[in-house]
């Protein structure tokens, strides 16, 4: 019993870790630019595809080094040439254009790589299992868990820490936080906030790319990947409170746990994220940590 609960918690953490990595960029972009970016799932998928190709040819470390910067530049170009023209348009227009672009990415990948899953070979150092009973005293018998999933949780943890540190302790972060509150006043103070926001879009895309690199080996890498994660990661952002980073982290683990603990009930597991969303939004319309006014 204890073993099972423990494993379900770990599984919840691991599912949450994937959601966090995708939702962080999504909520960061919404909170600063006010843009609902439906391309975000596709960016995650682009990260996974790039990672599987680069890793197959040059090794996994090369993928870690190349993919996030590649997604950063992809995001910067996307903001510069598409998204920027939709800042003043209604959210529905933003959703249409970013959703359309997501389909363009998806179909392009399908055209190049076909519809089948591309096997993602983990690096040697990430394979195998961790014998948890050797580390955790209250577990009895043999309790093991795939090593890669702990790596995923660790990467997610440090990404959250790094992003919070960037936003809380750097001057760039101070400008971005201020810009989330009132970007116009910053421009009256001489700050080119548009340029900063382009970088934020790049940063959000970069985190999606990082998610693709580390989640790729545990998810399927096929052209349906982006859409598969788009809806739950949006729910994470909404449940957490649109634009709230701590909210996104909290909601990711809440959804991860909800899915993990309903694993024995296949039907329920498929819909539990929506049940959680309905319950949370019914009682807290702005989400767990949402502030007043983000959507006003």
């Amino acid at each position: 019993m204890v073993n099972q609960i423990f494993l379900q918690i770990v599984t919840g953490l691991q599912l949450g870790a994937i959601y966090v990595l995708i939702a962080l960029g999504l909520t960061l972009i919404f909170g600063t630019l006010g843009v609902v970016n439906f391309t975000h799932g596709a960016l995650f998928m682009l990260g996974a595809f790039s990672a599987v190709i680069i890793s197959g040819n040059y090794g996994f470390v090369a993928a870690i080094i190349i993919v996030p910067p590649f997604l950063f530049f992809f995001g910067v170009l996307m903001e510069r040439f598409i998204v920027r023209f939709f800042y003043d348009r209604p959210h529905t227009d933003q959703i249409l254009v970013t959703f359309g672009f997501a389909i363009v990415i998806q179909e392009t990948l399908k055209w190049i790589f076909g519809s089948n899953n591309i096997p993602f070979k983990m690096p040697a150092w990430g394979r195998g299992i961790l014998k948890l009973h050797e580390y955790v005293p209250f577990l009895d018998g043999f309790v093991a868990y795939p090593k890669w999933r702990f790596i995923l949780i660790t990467v997610s943890f440090f990404t959250v820490i790094a992003l919070f540190a960037l936003l809380q302790f750097t001057r760039f972060g101070m400008v971005i936080r201020a810009g989330m509150n009132d970007s116009e006043i910053l421009s009256f103070l001489g700050i080119n906030i548009t340029r900063r926001f382009t970088l934020v879009f790049g940063l959000g895309s970069m985190i999606a790319g990082l998610a693709g690199v580390f989640a790729g080996p545990v998810t399927n890498v096929d052209p349906g990947l982006g859409m598969f994660y788009l809806v739950p990661s949006f729910l994470v952002v909404v449940i957490g409170g649109m634009g709230s980073l701590p909210g996104a982290v909290l909601a990711s683990f809440l959804l991860g746990m909800a899915q993990s603990f309903t694993v024995s009930f296949a039907g329920l597991q498929a819909i539990v994220v929506y049940i959680v969303a309905v319950v949370v939004l019914l009682f807290m319309p702005r989400g767990l940590l949402g502030k007043k006014g983000v959507l006003d």
């Binding site: 201020a178 989330m180 509150n181 910053l186 009256f188 700050i191 080119n192």
Partner: protein, 244 residues
């Protein structure tokens, strides 16, 4: 009276030449022109909806209202061709209506944010010397300040930048009379610094105390441009355009 003020090209320190700006489809500023000499303080007056705030925001190159036509020139620089942050970098400082203190940041962080873009003006020492109240509260969340203190911070934030043209939008709005007097004292000090200033204020009498000159707007056009004393002396003018 509106037809009397038309100065197309100008050598003045600051000039606004036949500007037309829009909020979406609404035509708000409908051909405003005026000039301001260096170090001069001008009160921009008029009823609600006369286009005062819109004129200030157009000068500060805000995203809205959108400037469709006209020129704005500061010290030979074509402001009308610039964006808000570029206008701020050449010395335009708007202290907006409702002060727009940045939430989630301390008093000091609000001032730091004002000095991220070059060129900068007063040092923190100078600011804290002139605004001891802000010095006391430098670590406090800025949005927890009282209305008067927030107004001080908004003015201090402008002085933290190297400013050539100060735009004050309703500096006394929503403040208790005793606080109004305190802000008035600060603005009189600012006046001594010789900064060219445009002040928009519902409280016309208070604005005229500070100003050398008054410009009255009516439905998006200049209806009067003359000395501050003239407005104070001319009852008909005040009744027609200011309702005081």
């Amino acid at each position: 009276m509106s037809e009397m003020i038309q100065k197309p090209d100008s050598n003045a320190f600051f000039s606004v030449q036949d500007i037309h700006s829009y909020y979406g489809e609404s035509y708000i500023v409908q051909g405003v022109s005026f000039e301001i000499a260096e170090r001069e303080i001008v009160a921009l007056l008029g009823r609600n909806g006369a286009g005062k705030t819109s004129t200030l925001r157009t000068i500060a190159r805000a995203h809205e209202p959108f400037l469709k036509k006209g020129k704005i020139v500061l010290n030979g620089m074509p402001l009308h061709q610039l964006e808000a942050h570029q206008a701020a970098q050449i010395g335009v400082q708007l202290v907006p209506e409702d002060r727009r203190i940045i939430g989630g940041a301390t008093v000091e962080e609000n001032l730091i944010l004002a000095q991220i873009a070059k060129p900068i003006g007063w040092s923190f020492e100078q600011i804290y010397e002139h605004f001891p109240r802000l010095a006391e509260r430098r670590k406090q969340q800025a949005t927890t300040l009282s209305g008067g203190e927030q107004q001080m911070l908004a003015v201090a934030r402008a002085l933290a930048r190297d400013l050539k043209l100060l735009l004050l939008d309703e500096p006394y709005e929503g403040l208790a009379p005793i606080i109004v007097r305190e802000i008035e004292r600060i603005l009189l000090e600012v006046k001594k610094l010789g900064i060219t200033t445009i002040i928009v204020e519902q409280n016309a009498v208070a604005a005229l105390k500070l100003a050398d000159r008054a410009i009255i707007l009516d439905t998006g056009l200049v209806a009067f441009d003359g000395s501050a004393q003239e407005v104070l002396d001319n009852k008909e003018l005040r009744e027609e355009y200011l309702a005081i």
